[in-house]
Chain length 458, copies 2
């Protein structure tokens, strides 16, 4: 069990309320941490109790005893990221609390801010953090997005790596903390029925879907600068691609995983793209008039390795679509048909559902009972819910736990970030088509799919 | 829709009541046959209504209207298999009924008798059947067992093949009429996720289990002459092996399937055997005092083909065992473990359940939610029940339907029968160990399994 000092920079933000505080709550409730303090810091004047209270609705069946403990061990410091004196105040408060609660000073600085502040904050944390820096403490956590293009990410990486050793730096992509995403490499590499057929000889295409049924939800001024490609393709979707497509790492752990992911990202190229924007987007608060920012994107990617020669990877993502789901569909090739007639009309699919209803389905062909030589597709299904205890951790709890344990497997290394930005920076955007809210995306999708011979799984 | 004349030789027997009449009932109820007569024949004096009534308890939710139709279209002829004159009586009755019901004389002779009568009956049927024999009619159906060893089967095959063309001859192994058994080759050959890994490179062993929880049920005088090996290994179990192990047939149909099955049976050898007899067996009625007949058998077989080089096939079957089930467990090899620790302790299994709860389960490894790098086995499961309409045909209905359609895919050809007897004739039986009723078999099984490195699936 651990003793930790949490410092949340950007403590008044949405992420803190929705994700970070609930994650700490659960770590405390489950006794994964024994002793701790939480210090929130942000520009506004605020009480820590207000911040904690704002989180209560995001914790199901929260216990008063745990919330009381959190409040007793928490504090707030008003801090302007650009005022160096304020970092000294933060220091003083950390000292005071670590002394009071007899904590060893294992500090986790969580930068829950926009990435344009990362450079300044990191600089000041380093300068004013007077704790003796050990081989692996303090730890600095950076929320996504990490930069807004390859150039900015490189500048940022260079800057922070001068201040902190790579082992201290944790770049978040919260998808990596999801159970079903952590499961991808387990399923790939521990199953004899899958490992040998995971290649171009047997796989026809890979489809990665990330549909949202909601819009930009008041995040107009942020979203309009990013759009779907920077918001989810560059990070979540390329991480999913990397996990599906990487060569076997030496070990399913830490640096070996990151080595394998970066290697495949460096061989990944966008071949074609179709962009869309939902009707009414430009009337959203914070969005520029006449904005061409995409809220929908579908991409065809190619991976220049022997394993994936000729196997297209397709991405599809968007806001305000008909359904909300994230999943990966691995489409296998046809078999030589030995039937007299009634050959199968579709192929096997392995579907990894990220959300909702996390799990795996392998669609196989089987006989229609009572009918001679007639084939149907039956789902061999495993639903995570069936084995998941109600207290299965959410992504942020898993990730904070990993930071505490110093496990970087579920974080994104500098070169992965850069390789991903390189892929998305190279996209030539072209026309942005409008689409109806609640639809499947722009009407042009059909033609685009036909041209690229992609049959999306129903 | 068809017009058929059913002739059941051995109409007073158990099989007629339990299986054959209910199968015809369902074909009529489902309107798979339009017009028909049933003529029962046996040595005893009997009324056809008695025979039909004896079947009623074996038809769930039988309808009076259908039973009435059956009775109107049925008749009984007393017939001593060894009295030639009686066959003339049968002829006369068939004539009369076919004339009365305006039937074209498409006759199916079903020999539901012991195989020692097959030769005489076939001879007389040929001699006294005055219907003009066409390319494919009449059809003659032989119940199993077909002979009692290679020699007797050969004599029988030679004899009947002189009288009827191979296309007229249907040797029953009712397992081939089971949905889940018919499904084996469909699952094997129409799925890209299985076809490429169905070989010695990826499969460690194949286990075929056929456990019965009941005993010999008054069949003592028959069973004692046969024993487990002749009763189920020579037929059902070797047919299952053939379907699992055969090379891809040119087509999943008829003669091509039989070609493929016979080819693998000709390369199949028994390496080791362990026999058992349940306690009290020798006190069963009809069993010889001091009988050494086995009621339990476990076998290790090897298949001398490239596909199965070094892959043992194991059989296990017995009466009065703990559970009642028939299933095939395909055990895949290990994967190279890339985990830091917690490597999987078992391997993938594909299980084909023949009964009960027909279906397929693929056991794969997946992450334990909430635990870092911990693996559990999850069943990707498909249960036939979930898609099976309540009226899914039972094996005998399927098989009779196949006879009517002239489809021999689900029947056993002369050379398959002979190849199977050759395999079982070569078994050197050795000691027969006693076992407790309701147990897993003789205690010696454990040692035998260890010696042959077989871990039965739990």
């Amino acid at each position: 069990m651990d003793e930790v000092t949490f410092v949340i920079l950007g403590a008044t933000g949405d992420l803190t309320a929705r994700k970070i505080i609930p994650a700490i709550y659960h770590l405390v409730e489950r006794k994964k941490i024994q002793n701790f303090v939480i210090v929130g810091a942000a520009r506004k004047k605020k009480k820590i109790s207000t911040i904690l209270n704002a989180s209560k609705k995001f914790v199901k069946k929260g216990k008063d005893s745990v919330w009381n403990k959190l409040e007793k061990h928490a504090s707030y410091v008003q801090l302007d990221f650009y005022n160096e004196d304020h970092y000294q105040n933060l220091q003083d408060e950390l000292h005071r609390l670590e002394h009071k609660f007899k904590l060893p000073g294992k500090r986790i600085f969580y930068l829950a801010t926009l990435s344009n502040h990362f450079e300044t904050i990191t600089h000041n944390l380093k300068k004013y953090d007077d704790k003796k820096h050990t081989k692996s403490w303090p730890r600095v956590v950076y929320e996504k997005p990490f930069g807004h293009d390859l150039k900015s990410a490189k500048v940022l990486n260079r800057h922070i790596s001068r201040l902190f050793h790579q082992d201290h730096i944790y770049r978040i992509d919260h998808y990596l903390g999801k159970e079903s995403v952590e499961n991808i490499s387990i399923v790939r590499f521990t199953n004899r029925v899958l490992e040998p057929i995971w290649n171009a000889k047997h796989i026809e295409s890979v489809q990665i879907i990330m549909n949202e049924s909601i819009g930009i939800e008041g995040r107009g001024s942020f979203y309009d600068k990013y759009g779907a490609i920077k918001d989810v393709v560059q990070n979540h979707m390329l991480q999913l691609l990397a996990l599906v497509a990487m060569e076997p790492p030496k070990r399913l752990f830490g640096k070996y995983m990151q080595d394998a992911k970066v290697a495949i990202l460096k061989r990944t190229y966008v071949e074609s793209v179709l962009l869309g924007q939902y009707n009414g987007y430009t009337r959203e608060p914070g969005v520029k008039k006449g904005s061409k920012t995409e809220t929908f994107a579908t991409l065809k990617l190619s991976l220049h390795t022997k394993r994936w020669k000729g196997v297209p990877f397709f991405f599809k993502t968007g806001k305000f679509l008909k359904s909300k789901e994230t999943r990966i569909d691995v489409k296998f090739k046809e078999v030589k048909c030995l039937m007299l007639n009634n050959c199968p009309t579709d192929t096997n699919f392995l579907t990894i559902r990220i959300q909702p209803n996390e799990g795996i389905t392998l669609d196989v062909h089987s006989k229609v009972p009572g009918e001679k030589s007639k084939i149907t597709t039956v789902p061999l299904d495993f639903s995570q819910q069936s084995v998941t205890a109600p207290e299965t951790p959410e992504a942020y709890e898993t990730l904070l736990g990993d930071v505490i344990e110093g496990n970087q497997s579920t974080f994104v290394r500098h070169d992965e970030i850069e390789a991903s930005w390189k892929i998305t920076d190279a996209i030539r955007k072209g026309k942005v088509y409008h689409y109806r809210r609640g639809s499947n995306g722009p009407l042009q999708l059909q033609k685009w799919s036909k041209r690229h011979k992609i049959q999306w799984r129903a």
